[in-house]
């Protein structure tokens, strides 16, 4: 077990070393990321300056929603997105074949050999905004709410990683998965806003088929004591369970996809 962890740590080190071959580009990328997410935050601020409330949420609450979503997403995606987004290329080029002949868990190898430190930009932006928003918004702090905050952030991270893993895993069967990622990001952008501003149909989708509501609006609404559409009192427990449950589903899906793997030719 310890030996396995050592291998994973080495994979991360090697990946970081690879990235540092292109140091300049790396930092330029981070700055670009901070600027682009900063611009989104600015848009929300401008909107709120004009309208005061959005679906009953004020500026600090929306800043909390934005930063919670960004943090949960970047933590979850650093463990999955870049690695699995390129899985279809690995399948097409046959690189995955070579990986399958190694005595190491394929998913773990993929994830840790590409653990994306590029999300540093997201995190550098998200944490200060989150800290400010937690203080500015009216959160009723207690032991319970603190535990809920940590637990729901963890669960949200798992939801992100699990959904991305499932989408990426489809490349093992269909070779292509990019169109699914496009759909994912379509919904993902909506999670920067409170769930209650969307029509009921969309709310249902985001709580079930594309359960992205659990990476931001559900946990943050619970934390702020706001009503959660459709889930009501169950919101807190559902959002805490969503992560672990989806991780189990993602593992089963990944195994199934690997067993159906056909390679890409020859």
């Amino acid at each position: 077990m310890l030996h396995r962890l050592g291998v994973l740590a080495l994979l991360v080190r090697m990946f970081v070393k690879s990235q540092m071959e292109y140091r300049g580009a790396f930092w330029l990328d981070r700055v670009a990321q901070i600027l682009s997410y900063g611009a989104v935050l600015l848009t929300i601020w401008i909107l709120l300056n004009k309208f005061q409330l959005l679906g009953g949420w004020n500026w600090p609450e929306l800043a909390l929603l934005f930063s919670f979503q960004l943090l949960a997403y970047s933590l979850g995606a650093s463990m999955s997105f870049t690695q699995l987004n390129t899985l279809e290329d690995l399948v097409r080029m046959g690189t995955l074949d070579a990986l399958l002949t190694k005595p190491i868990n394929t998913w773990a190898y993929l994830i840790f050999s590409g653990l994306n430190i590029g999300y540093a930009g997201h995190i550098i932006l998200a944490i200060p905004v989150l800290v400010w928003a937690l203080m500015a918004a009216e959160v009723q702090w207690s032991v319970g709410s603190t535990l809920f905050f940590v637990g729901s952030l963890l669960s949200a991270t798992m939801v992100t990683g699990a959904i991305i893993t499932m989408i990426g895993g489809t490349a093992l069967i269909w070779v292509r998965s990019n169109h699914l990622f496009a759909i994912f990001f379509g919904f993902w952008e909506l999670t920067r806003y409170p769930l209650n501003i969307f029509p009921t149909g969309l709310q249902v989708v985001m709580l079930t088929i594309v359960p992205l509501a659990y990476i931001s609006t559900v946990p943050v609404a619970v934390l702020l004591g706001k009503p959660v559409p459709l889930l009501g009192d169950f919101a807190a427990s559902v959002t805490l369970l969503a992560g672990p449950v989806l991780v189990l589903v993602a593992i089963a899906h990944w195994r199934y996809a690997l067993s159906r793997y056909q390679g890409a030719g020859g």
């Binding site: 050592g6 090697m14 292109y22 080029m93 046959g94 074949d97 793997y261 020859g266």
Partner: protein
């Protein structure tokens, strides 16, 4: 001796979404759920014993890589049974992984941006190779394949030949019992090909590593593999020693005799005269057991024989003849 690899009636069929031609067809492809089955490997069986070196030969699309992928556990056979080192490859992929080495000629397993040695270190950790063993193997193989000068260079700066040598060394660091190579010499120049072939032959001979390699370069097989398995259109068409292929596929040797003066028509019992140019006469040797000495004995020493040229058809020619005949047969058959 029990076989290291046993294949019995192994088949692999791929299901492909049926594609329709043209723009309208593209839409039709999107909405229909029709599939075509493509058979990549059909009812193939063989045994490979420890220490053998086997060349797996066939034209593009004959199912060579698919067979390698099944033997290494990447793909699941559609039918038949396959056993590698006593295990079913796809079910015990991880267990087998420790005892096999795999090299894919067209896809690198090295880390592109890092020095070669970093990929080797990772390999050591993944396969849990004891330090002493690792150091010894690294030293020995690096010397044999002349890797030492570029071990510290980033993989992206290497030539294809250097990279392939590094790939092969890496695949052997954990002392695998079987080494699978899928087109290991593809794209290499003559010198690099030669280095790779000699190295593989030596590893097979000295370390007893069982080698299975796919190729369409016959020279690979002539240098490395005493045994040849030939596939065509998913089916096995020959399995045996290389020198038997000629006989099996029915290609004869050709002999040219050159004389100082024309001895006139010269019929031999050991060879068939095919062309007579007077001073030069061409024969076909249909029997494998006839030696040049026997023929020269029959010609005799008093006919003014100046020169002799025996033309052994190379495998390439043998195989070409085989395909031509097969295609001719296919057009004749009802």
């Amino acid at each position: 001796m029990t076989a290291l690899i046993e294949a019995r009636g192994v088949s692999k069929r791929f299901r492909q979404h049926k594609r329709f031609p043209g723009l309208l067809g593209a839409f039709k492809t999107l909405v229909t759920a029709e599939y075509t089955e493509v058979t990549a490997v059909s009812d193939i069986g063989f045994d490979i014993a420890a220490g053998e070196a086997v060349g797996y030969l066939g034209p593009n699309g004959a199912g060579k890589s698919t067979m390698i992928k099944m033997m290494t556990g990447i793909l699941v056979p559609s039918a038949g049974t396959l056993s590698v080192l006593g295990r079913t490859p796809h079910q015990q992929r991880m267990a087998n992984a420790h005892e096999i080495g795999v090299v894919f000629g067209q896809r690198s397993q090295l880390w592109w941006d890092l020095p070669v040695i970093d990929s080797f270190t990772l390999h050591q950790r993944i396969y849990d190779i004891p330090q002493a063993r690792y150091a010894e193997n690294l030293k020995r193989f690096s010397t044999l394949l002349d890797l030492t000068p570029f071990l510290d260079r980033a993989v992206r700066q290497l030539s294809l030949g250097q990279r392939m040598r590094a790939e092969i060394v890496m695949s052997l660091l954990h002392d695998p019992k079987i080494l699978f190579l899928d087109e290991p010499t593809i794209g290499l120049d003559v010198v690099a090909k030669d280095a790779v072939r000699k190295f593989l032959a030596e590893i097979n001979r000295e370390r007893g590593v069982t080698i299975i390699l796919t190729t369409h370069d016959l020279q690979d097989i002539e240098t490395i593999c005493p045994r040849l398995i030939m596939v065509d259109q998913a089916k096995l068409i020959f399995d045996g020693e290389l020198h038997r292929l000629r006989a099996a596929l029915g290609s004869a040797r050709r002999l040219t005799l050159e004389f100082v003066t024309d001895p006139g028509p010269l019929a031999l019992t050991t060879a068939t005269l095919t062309a007579d140019e007077g001073l030069r006469k061409h024969y076909l040797l249909e029997r494998e057991d006839v030696s040049l000495v026997q023929i020269l004995g029959e010609v005799g020493s008093d006919r003014g024989l100046k020169d002799v040229a025996l033309h052994e058809p190379d495998i390439e020619e043998v195989i070409r003849t085989f395909y031509q005949r097969r295609n001719a047969a296919a057009t004749v058959a009802p």
